[in-house]
């Protein structure tokens, strides 16, 4: 074996062989490699099946998500539409709303007190 005080970058054949024997010769003996291989291969299909998600499940997951999103969009759209229908039409113009017809049709300049009175009446 190599000197333990210096680090050797190569594997130690003697120690490696001893460890290999120690790990291979467990009690009870486990030299049944063929049985182990068979055991692994017996789970071959199961492992692949467990790991594979069927396509329809993926689609189902997506459709579930789509249904939720569509429902949420419908609710939001309905609320917005309802608000739009309940909102009254705006007045034609501010001037038209505030100015009495008599003042618009008059040929002479209006008296200040009449204009003031008409504005007070509007409120």
């Amino acid at each position: 074996m190599n000197d333990e005080r210096t680090f050797d970058h190569r594997p130690d054949p003697e120690l490696g062989a001893a460890l290999r024997r120690a790990l291979d010769s467990v009690d009870p003996p486990r030299d049944d490699q063929a049985a182990f291989v068979a055991r692994v291969m017996a789970r071959y299909d199961g492992a692949l099946a467990d790991a594979t998600v069927p396509t329809w499940e993926v689609l189902a997951a997506w459709s579930r998500r789509g249904i939720v999103l569509a429902a949420a969009a419908a609710v939001i759209g309905g609320v917005l539409l309802g608000r739009a229908l309940q909102t009254p039409e705006p007045q034609a113009t501010l001037d038209a709303a505030l100015t009495p017809i008599a003042l618009i049709n008059a040929t002479d300049p209006p008296d200040a007190s009449v204009v003031f009175a008409s504005l007070v009446e509007q409120r």
């Binding site: 333990e4 460890l19 290999r20 120690a22 790990l23 692994v40 492992a47």
Partner: protein
Amino acid sequence: MPPDSPAQPPQGAARIAGEAELVAQTLAGERAAFGVLVERYAPQARRVARAVLGDPDEADDAAQDGFLSALVKLGQFDARRPFGPWLMRIVANAATDRRRRRQVRRVELLDPGLVGGGPRPDTEAVRSELGEHLRAALAELPPRRRTAVVLFDVEGYSHAEIAEMLGIPEGTVRSEVFHARRRLRALLADWKGA
């Protein structure tokens, strides 16, 4: 680094190419190709799992978990790189996960007869006696240290490969191997001198 098996695989680039072909065949649905890989790496995977876990039965469970996990992840394998380190990383992780899940003290993973240090009454061969001492000594090492020394001295992986497998710096691997060797060599020396 070749795995051990009755039929040794080719070395170097040829081995990488051959194993890449086996991986490709497995991905194409050829079950037998994966069987070849399992047969080739089973001894190595079982030893690595034993190094992590100690208990042979649990180690076999972990090795099996590792192979099946590798099968599921096979599409992620980079075929330009060697298959062994990639697989051993998965096996070591499977064993480590299993050890963490159990949350038991290290000594409980072992045959109580081995922890005592002395040879058991039914010990017959000198080699098996040494094996028992070595297993006991391995069990006394921290899990990462014993895994590192097994991967290096038994399986022949490089420090860089082990660092990638265990997810630790290469310098840490060197340190772990150094300390593990010092302990194991001391035990071997004592055993030889006795």
